[in-house]
């Protein structure tokens, strides 16, 4: 398609056809957005557009159409006002053309975002995204290469230190405020030259800042917010299609068993722990009514031996089924030296917790040793606790802090109790018999797992009024019975845990409404959690 190679011509064409001076107050659009939306309305069509990444940036021609899947790291690079349209000798022209003084010019506010490749992307996830584009790479080889574009990054703007990534400045003319920090977006846009990003501290406004890395620019035409997990085999916005979902729900129970078995191998054969891990994978924050956070389920697996191998094996398993996973060793050095929270000084620097929604962070506390935690470390630990307790992350700016809502799954492997407060913590009970059966599941199975997790995570779940009544009555009666028997009462906190467990249990079994069976299962799990969590304390 020529539009991929020469998108500017298409835009020019549209401009000539649709733009009338003074006719439209909405300068963003003279039919461009709609035109491109229609052009690329399915995944297949989207895949025709070459992916922009650290490798392809050198080969893709300037001013060609590219696709860039990224995380918005900062929404506020320094504000720019650009000429939107101008005229050359009375011939109407499009964007970015030289202007003359004859006629009226229009100016437009332009927002630019600093975008980085999605942090923690797992290999299979990257592969599915770019595999389909390789056919096209061959086709593009015939094209003449543009000037070599440098592509550098600002390492402090990527959440994870020492992880290579790709970054670009995305400029858009639309003032859509719905795209915020840590949103995962898929940008379809025109590749621009690599420029130095002005850090805003340059005192000469006319000159480009002389220092700083050169970052490629993408002039966005379409910016699609990708929901949550964004499994590439699902639809554009990350949700499964109706028919897919139906089939998935039907198979859910068998997949569930297989998956628990698969995870159990990583957690030393402990099937109960594996089930909780599975529920943890399905958890997401789905509602925040009046200050409460619903749906979060941070998990702490306590191992009874020091330097547990669980962290490593679990990381491998998670990486094979989840799109976004990152393991963070909670060593004192890491806590004291690195930043977990983003902070804005000259520019917004990233922190390890600045990740997209639906990313799983595996905190390995078994790596921690004794020693002093300096101020920095305490702040970091506080940031992790905030995410675990409230799913909020404070961005530290000079003279003020801003709270952002997150949805990060925290899984903590520790020796003994974790330093971070969690929703659920259990002690592992290894079952050595199964440890031998370390067999890799087939690619087919892995694919099933991935689809299962990605779609059920997002599935709509409902708690029926009848079931709620039953739970209510049960709660009252249990309390009455316990009080009569003088045993421990069931507390409201237990009840809340049971309800959220029930949601996850139901989803994991492919049920979209809560039924009796799932509820009983959840209550049983909750009981077991209690037993398992208290074991370390008494011993």
């Amino acid at each position: 398609m020529s539009v991929i190679q020469h998108p500017l011509e298409t835009i020019q064409e549209l401009f000539r056809k649709n733009w009338k001076e003074g006719a439209s107050t909405d300068k963003d659009d003279f039919g461009v957005t709609k035109h491109f939306q229609d052009l690329f309305d399915t995944r297949e069509k989207l895949y025709k557009i070459p992916v922009l990444d650290a490798q392809s940036v050198h080969t893709l021609p300037l001013n060609s159409l590219v696709r860039f899947r990224c995380m918005v790291q900062d929404t506020e690079l320094s504000q720019e006002v650009a000429l939107f349209a101008s005229t050359v000798s009375n011939k109407p022209n499009g964007e970015e053309m030289l202007a003359s003084h004859q006629n009226q010019e229009l100016m437009d506010l332009r927002s630019s975002y600093y975008c980085v490749s999605v942090p923690g992307q797992t290999q299979w996830f990257k592969d599915t995204d770019s595999a389909k584009a390789t056919d096209l790479d061959a086709a593009l080889d015939g094209l003449k290469l543009g000037e070599t574009k440098t592509s550098e990054v600002m390492p402090e703007r990527f959440p994870f230190p020492a992880v290579s990534h790709f970054a670009a400045v995305v400029k858009t003319h639309s003032s859509d405020v719905s795209i915020g920090v840590t949103d995962m977006v898929e940008v379809i846009g025109v590749l621009g030259a690599s420029d130095k990003v002005s850090s805003g501290d340059s005192f000469d406004f006319q000159e480009e800042s002389a220092t700083g890395p050169r970052i490629p620019t993408v002039h966005a035409i379409l910016m699609n917010k990708v929901e949550d997990h964004g499994h590439p085999e699902l639809t554009v916005n990350g949700h499964p299609t109706e028919s897919d979902l139906e089939k998935l729900l039907k198979d859910a129970k068998t997949v569930r068993e297989d998956l628990i078995q698969y995870i159990a191998e990583a957690v030393r054969g402990d099937k109960f722990a594996a089930e909780l891990v599975l529920l943890h994978l399905l958890a997401r924050v789905y509602s925040r009514p009046s200050g409460a956070v619903l749906g979060k389920f941070s998990l702490n697996l306590k191992d009874s031996v020091a330097n547990s191998p669980v962290a490593k094996s679990l990381e491998n398993v998670l990486k094979s089924v989840l799109p976004k996973v990152h393991a963070i060793p909670m060593t004192l050095e890491n806590l004291n030296k690195n930043f977990f929270y983003p902070r804005g000084e000259e520019q917004l620097r990233s922190g390890m917790l600045q990740v997209t929604r639906g990313t799983l962070l595996l905190l390995d506390e078994s790596a921690m040793e004794e020693g002093t935690l300096i101020d920095q470390g305490i702040k970091n630990l506080k940031a992790v606790s905030d995410v675990s307790l409230y799913q909020t992350l404070n961005y530290v700016f000079p003279y003020n802090n801003l709270e952002f809502q997150t949805d990060v799954s925290l899984m903590i492997i520790s020796f003994g109790s974790s330093l971070v407060p969690v929703d659920c913590g259990i002690t592992l009970k290894p079952e050595p018999s199964t440890a031998e059966l370390q067999s890799e599941p087939s690619e087919e199975k892995l694919r099933a797992f991935r689809r299962y997790i990605s779609s059920l995570r997002l599935a709509e779940y409902k708690l029926s009024e009848d079931m709620a009544k039953e739970i209510e009555t049960e709660f009252m009666e249990q309390r009455k019975a316990a009080s009569a028997a003088g045993s421990a009462l069931i507390t409201p906190i237990d009840l809340a845990l049971n309800i959220s467990l029930a949601r996850l249990v139901a989803l994991s079994k492919g049920e979209l409404t809560l039924n009796r069976e799932c509820w009983d299962h959840a209550v049983a799990l909750s009981k077991q959690i209690k037993e398992r969590s208290s074991t370390t304390l008494s011993e």
Partner: protein, 911 residues
């Protein structure tokens, strides 16, 4: 008003002596000597000399980049415009017919020399450089040449216009009529009174003499500053100046110089005896009426006057900005100077000396140039105005002259400034620009939003002896902040106390009294110092202890308070060392788990320290708490350094009962593992019990489930105050309100205290002076909650009610059903004491009955329990033994399980 000075229109060029050929860049060239318009020196459609040129920074260096100004203003083609002016404007005189650059003319205006002997302003505005037309016009108004023009006008009347007062001059491209604006503004300065503004806000008011008198002469008299802060709202309250307001916002570059000019004339007329010594007065407009968010500043705002709020992030050092450069010829030492024109100096390429005329011989003499202060700052938008999910945006500010160093990083400011856009150059050495514009603000006025902060800063700057003269407001007008208005509004609510209490942790069900207690804790009593008594400080902080069953949302209350309270610290009693300044990760010797030790108390100085699992605290930490809770200091002795750190903190602690479940048959002290001395230091003690009650259980379950059901969840109530408002309400009250006890309320206080004492019926002690102090603090906190300066009767009554409720739960001895303060203070009530006496006797008998001189401790206890009808706890047993030991009947030796009781013969003999 007439304007007799309006120059008339001689049609011949006026040559000026000494007018050298410093060619202005905008080509006011002799190519168009007969161009008719005052304001239209260039050919229509040629490179614009219009609005884009007002920036002090290089701007519009590329032909053709003219910024769209106001839709509509440009609608007329330049040609049409020039026609218009042809007919309307009759002063081609203003058109310099020599090849005189506009900058040169302006320099005449702003650098009037003694030769001219006029009060022409010597200082030039750095923020708004007047547009060439205005500058030129104003120059003519003060220049002797214009007098000449006036005379010659009489000699050569033009055909178009005979009456000078009817001349209308419009600055090209704008609707600014020069004389009209000057006249209107002068009227305003002469006539405006505060009364005229106040009348419209409040028609029936009484005014003082000064409010009825013209305001600005007074203001200028009083401040004596070289600048006039002009509250633009005042313009709106003056009939004829209304129009100026709108013009000022739309065309600051044209209107501000006019206003400056009017002000200077006004000043010269009003105070002819005052000599400005060549200085000029400056208008600093503020309070435009509408604050624009930095985020919303768009292309349409470019070159307009805007008011923006923000938070100063950082400032550059002061940059000396060249205003006039001095050159000297290297060959003949002829000197020449060149004025900065929009931030750029034109270096003369040729020696002006006719005789010399050397090319490229002029060299810059640095120390003879003129410089002005300039500073570049970065301001972030207000945290309140950032949309969800976005990071804060910041914008550059350029401040000039007097405004330099006025604000410091961290200040909250309200800036009035001209919004600018400059194109980015492709290469600093080339004139080629991109289609990209970078924006910034040229500041004309700074107002600090935070009054309190302002006071501090003034002090500091006074000490430094630098720029203390700058004042942000116009003194008489006090701006009330939106937030303060909101806070005041909230304080007027009829059931304020209940509403605020409900707003504390709305997701937590019921526990209303606890919420009230915690709320009062956040407000706190007033800290007092009695100099005479010699006690350094009397604490106003209220300490609250929550004791209760696990799972009763104690932790939730704690974390809520931690979130809302200023400088709150949340810590778990387990493994927290109160004194440590840095935290330390240690391995718990018992469980081999890693625990974190943090210095919570010192960190929360001036805030609330929330300690969860208070009972799990180590003994060493607890002993520190004794000091903290009364003296509010922490003494640290470490590595040879002994120091006392302030820990002025309120304590909100939560503790669990000893046996996981609260035992109702035992008094509170026996239920928690805390020394009575520590417990008695808490002002309020609450039992958070998990009581089985069908109705409340059902409601509770419903409450939790409703969160998960689709319909809107029930909370404490609909009319709750959002958390951030509550936070600012509390900090406002804490900072601004320091209530004192009135005579009446003290009397009530005494009565309440006496009532409380009477509860014991004379036998038991139900209240100590500690409770009295607590009552005072709570009453003060409640008055503070109402933002009231006095503690009233109902505050005291509520305080006493809260204490009574608290005591009822904590100091009730369940065995007798009576309140007994001793339970709290010593850990044993009067019931215990009577009981103890019996035990002592029995134990003595037991010991005497035995023929051995030594008894194993555990055996003795077992024997004793065997013969006793009521169970005797280890604690009680050892207490009795302790008493006997003191009386020297026995001696206990050994440790823990190996303790041995040894009978002492001396004791037996005495018996």
């Amino acid at each position: 008003m007439s304007s007799p000075r309006t120059p008339r229109t001689p049609r011949r060029p006026i040559s000026r002596p000494g007018a050298s050929s410093s060619q202005g860049r905008d080509n006011v060239s002799s190519d168009f000597p007969s161009s008719p318009g005052l304001n239209f020196p260039t050919s229509p459609g040629g490179p614009s000399s219009g609005l884009g040129l007002n920036s002090p920074l290089p701007f519009a260096t590329t032909p053709g980049f003219r910024i769209q100004y106001q839709p509509g203003q440009f609608a007329q083609t330049p040609v049409g415009h020039s026609h218009l002016q042809d007919s309307e404007i009759s002063s081609p005189m203003a058109m310099p017919s020599s090849a005189l650059g506009s900058s040169h003319l302006r320099s005449d205006m702003s650098h009037g020399t003694a030769r001219e002997g006029l009060q022409t302003p010597r200082r030039r505005r750095g923020d708004v450089v007047s547009s060439p037309q205005v500058a030129r016009h104003l120059a003519l108004m003060t220049d002797p040449v214009s007098d000449f023009a006036l005379h010659s006008a009489g000699a050569f009347p033009t055909s178009q216009d005979n009456d000078p007062t009817q001349v209308v001059k419009v600055v090209w491209g704008t609707s600014v009529e020069i004389n009209d604006v000057i006249a209107r503004f002068k009227d305003f300065l002469h006539e405006f009174t505060q009364k005229s503004r106040m009348t419209q806000e409040n028609p029936r008011g009484l005014y003082t003499e000064s409010e009825k008198a013209p305001f600005y002469p007074q203001l200028m008299r009083r401040t004596g500053a070289r600048q006039l802060n002009l509250d633009c709202q005042n313009l709106l309250y003056h009939q004829s100046a209304k129009k100026v307001h709108g013009l000022l916002i739309d065309y600051p570059a044209e209107v501000l110089p006019l206003l400056d000019f009017s002000l200077n004339e006004f000043f010269a007329d009003t105070y002819p005896e005052d000599d400005l010594r060549g200085d000029s007065l400056m208008i600093r407009p503020f309070n435009l009426g509408q604050c624009i968010n930095t985020r919303d500043l768009g292309p349409s705002d470019i070159d307009r006057l805007v008011t923006v709020k923000g938070l100063m992030l950082r400032t550059s050092s002061v940059i000396p900005n060249v205003k006039k450069a001095f050159f000297q010829c290297l060959v003949c030492e002829q000197s020449a100077s060149s004025e900065a024109d929009r931030g750029r100096i034109t270096e003369p390429t040729k020696c002006p000396n006719q005789v010399c005329g050397a090319l490229n011989s002029m060299s810059l003499i640095h120390n003879r140039g003129e410089y002005a202060d300039k500073q570049v700052c970065r301001m972030q938008e207000m945290p309140e105005s950032i949309p969800d999910g976005q990071t804060p945006q910041s914008i550059s500010l350029v401040v000039h002259d007097d405004l330099v160093d006025v604000c410091k990083p961290g200040d909250r400011l309200e800036i009035t400034a001209v919004f600018r856009g400059v194109p980015v150059r492709v290469n600093p050495r080339q004139r080629t620009v991109k289609s990209l514009y970078r924006t910034y603000l040229d500041v004309v006025h700074i107002k600090k939003s935070d009054k309190k902060r302002l006071a501090i800063d003034d002090d500091i700057s006074n000490h430094g002896g630098k720029r203390a003269a700058y004042q942000g407001g116009d003194e008489i007008e006090v701006q009330s902040e939106d937030m303060i208005a909101k806070i005041k509004e909230i304080s007027m609510l009829p059931n304020l106390y209940e509403t605020l209490a409900r707003s504390v942790a709305p997701s937590i069900f019921e526990h209303d009294d606890i919420k009230k207690g915690v709320l009062l804790q956040m407000f706190g009593g007033t800290n007092k110092t009695f100099r005479k008594a010699g006690s350094p400080r009397y604490r106003g902080d209220i300490n609250v202890l929550l004791v209760g069953d696990p799972g009763t949302s104690k932790s939730q209350i704690l974390s809520y308070v931690h979130k809302i309270a200023p400088r709150g610290v949340y810590t778990s009693g387990k493994g927290s060392s109160a004194v440590g300044l840095t935290a330390y990760v240690t391995r718990d010797p018992d469980t081999r788990q890693l625990v974190l030790e943090s210095g919570a108390l010192v960190l929360s100085d001036g805030g609330i320290c929330c300690i969860d699992e208070f009972d799990k605290m180590s003994d060493a930490t607890r002993s520190v708490l004794h000091e903290v809770m009364e003296q509010q200091t922490v003494s640290v002795a470490k590595a040879g350094i002994i120091t006392t750190l302030n820990a002025r903190t309120s304590l909100l602690a939560a503790a669990n009962p000893i046996h996981s479940q609260y035992n109702h048959r035992l008094p509170m002290v026996d239920n928690i593992d805390l020394p009575p001395t520590l417990i008695s230091r808490f002002d309020l003690l609450y039992l958070v019990l998990d009581i089985v009650n069908e109705q409340s259980d059902r409601r509770l379950a419903r409450h939790i489930l409703s969160l998960y059901l689709e319909d809107a969840p029930e909370t404490g109530g609909t009319d709750i105050i959002p958390i951030d408002t509550l936070t600012s309400y509390i900090s406002y009250a804490r900072n601004h309100c320091h209530p004192v006890l009135s005579e009446e309320s003290s009397a009530v206080l005494v009565q309440c205290y006496l009532d409380l004492r009477k509860l014991g019926g004379g036998k038991q002690i139900t209240a100590t002076t500690r409770q009295l102090e607590s009552m005072i603090r709570l009453a003060e906190a409640r008055a503070r909650l109402r933002l009231s300066p006095d503690v009233e009767k109902e505050d005291v009554e509520e305080a006493s009610r809260l204490i009574r409720e608290g005591l009822k739960e904590s100091a009730m001895d369940p065995r007798t059903g009576l309140l007994d303060m001793d339970l709290l203070t010593t850990g044993q009530g009067s019931y215990d004491r009577g009981h103890l006496e019996d035990m002592r006797r029995e134990l003595l008998n037991l010991l005497n009955a035995s023929d051995k001189t030594t008894l194993r401790w555990a055996d003795a206890l077992a024997d004793f329990n065997a013969q006793s009808s009521v169970g005797v706890s280890e604690e009680q047993f050892s207490r009795v033994l302790g008493e006997l030991e003191q009386q020297q009947y026995i001696k206990v030796t050994g440790k823990r399980g190996l303790r041995v009781i040894k009978k002492l013969t001396t004791g037996q003999d005495r018996e």
